[in-house]
Amino acid sequence: MNAGNATTPKLGVQAATKIYHTASGDLLALDRCSLDVPANEIVSIVGPSGCGKTTLLWSMSGLHRLTSGAILLDGREITGPHPDIGIVFQEANLLPWRNLDANIRFPFEIKGEKPDRAWIAHLLHRVGLDGFGGKFPRELSGGMQQRAAIVRALSLKPSVLLMDEPFGSLDSFTREEMNRLVEEIWLDTKTTIVFITHSIEEAIFLSDRVAVLSARPGRVAKEYRVPFPRPRSLEIMATKEVFDLTNTIKMDIVGDRVRPKTPDHHAAEIVRIRP
């Protein structure tokens, strides 16, 4: 593994273009989208809904083939799912007919490997799921399900963790708790993380970098470094710098649509606020 090379990003997206062929015609979801994810960093991708965030992440995972462009892991192009890349899906995506233990065993069953019991026990303890192994997903809260999904993704010790709006359906308190957990895990493992979210606060709390995607077709419109020290306390998150960065990113995403360009087009712009 040549992850140590400072010039090579851990995960590189090069001019990624993705066209979906749907019944109602072709849909350009990503248009020459490029992004570098440096090793051992957390990079968040934010953008308006339907801008292709999930498409970008699924392409980075190798689950979707790009129409053109390339995904590079440690400088080598990947064309399909890669064992070094773990994914945490929206809404946990646990298999409801398996209990928690069996869900975490699932990747090992597919690969025909023996689960690393000590590591899994450590992870379960880390996320506070000791003793829940026999429970079925429906018996767990949304937050606990997502914790289990994180354990499942980390059980194979991936060097890159892709997280697709993992906490989107959780209430805001649980969400903050989960964010803190991700930060703790990252401080432990320094796993490179790509985090998709529609919450700017979440992105800033977690990330070393925030990439702002444009409306469809998706393309990286802006990139921000998030310089605040870790662990990011409530005090840090309440500073003016964080507030300003939040607003700047917010303006990037919604600003063009809210701000009328000229008085003449005022009426038309108002219509466009709610498409």
Partner: protein, 282 residues
């Protein structure tokens, strides 16, 4: 291949919502309040005694002739007394049911699994499947007897023909319930098509498969008994025609009771299997 991906979608309704498992809800028993206390058991027993006793009393009070409706006590006695004579026929019917059902269910399951993998093929065979499901296979029994004689063969074929399409149509519904996120999960670990089938598609389809198996088994029982009534000298259906032709109504109703018990047994069996293996879809 690059255009073959579907836009990632995460449906808000979870697989466990189960509105599509309404045809025969396996949880019909469980959704009712469970029997808890001794008083409840006593009440249920008391109601049964009142109903059965009431019927007995009414039949005797109005002097209803036994060839129209024998009293429950006479039926119970006939069941007890004639059981050694009925039992072999229960065995014959079970052989036909189990053999026909096994053949029909296996063919139905395999066809459902194969056909749902090829949506185009599914469109072509759909009308024929519908024809198989809606045609009462009993209608073919005279033809089958002409061709295969009065033995087990025509009955087993009829049972298989009745059960197979029921299993297939329900199993196909199950296999069609694709959850792209779960398949993506398996694919992200490098799962093969076969692994995706056994680890994702099959367990997701299991609740519907069990519904199909249960309906198939009940239809199989109906068809077995019907076929026995059409021709041949053995089986519970044959006992029904024999006893009724001899106006031995207590014995006739005793056989009816045995058939009811068989039907309930099938239901309970699949209910227990569902509870054990498909309870995640409560």
């Amino acid at each position: 291949m690059s255009g073959g991906d579907a836009i990632p979608e995460f449906s808000k309704t979870k697989a466990g919502d189960g509105h599509d498992v309404s045809l025969t809800n396996l949880s019909a028993f469980a959704s009712g309040p469970g029997i808890k206390s001794g008083t409840e058991v006593a009440a249920i027993a008391a109601v049964a005694v009142v109903i059965i006793g009431g019927i007995e009393l009414a039949l005797r009070l109005f002097h209803v002739p036994p060839y129209i409706m024998p009293p429950p006590s006479a039926i119970a006695y006939a069941l007890f007394d004639e059981f050694p004579l009925i039992a072999p026929h229960l065995g014959y019917t079970l052989v036909e049911l189990v053999a026909g059902f096994a053949i029909g269910a296996i063919i139905g399951l395999v066809m459902a699994a194969v056909i749902t993998q090829f949506p185009f093929a599914e469109k072509i065979v759909a009308p024929y499947i519908l024809l198989l499901v809606t045609t009462p296979m009993l209608a073919l029994v005279p033809l089958l007897i002409l061709r295969f004689g009065f033995g087990y063969t025509p009955r087993i074929i009829a049972v298989a023909l009745a059960a197979g399409p029921m299993v297939m149509i329900n199993a196909a519904t199950g296999f069609r319930r694709v959850d792209s996120a779960k398949i993506a999960l398996a694919r992200s670990y490098g799962a093969s098509t076969l692994q995706i089938f056994w680890k994702i598609r099959a367990p997701m389809a299991l609740p519907m498969i069990l519904v199909g198996l249960m309906i198939g088994a009940i239809f199989g029982l109906l068809t077995a008994v019907g076929a026995e009534m059409v021709g041949g000298g053995f089986g519970l259906g044959n006992r029904l025609t024999t006893y009724s032709s001899m106006i031995q109504m207590p014995q006739f109703f005793a056989v009816v009771l045995v058939l009811s018990a068989l039907g309930i047994l099938i239901y309970v069996l699949f209910f227990l299997i569902g509870k054990r293996w498909a309870s995640w879809e409560a």
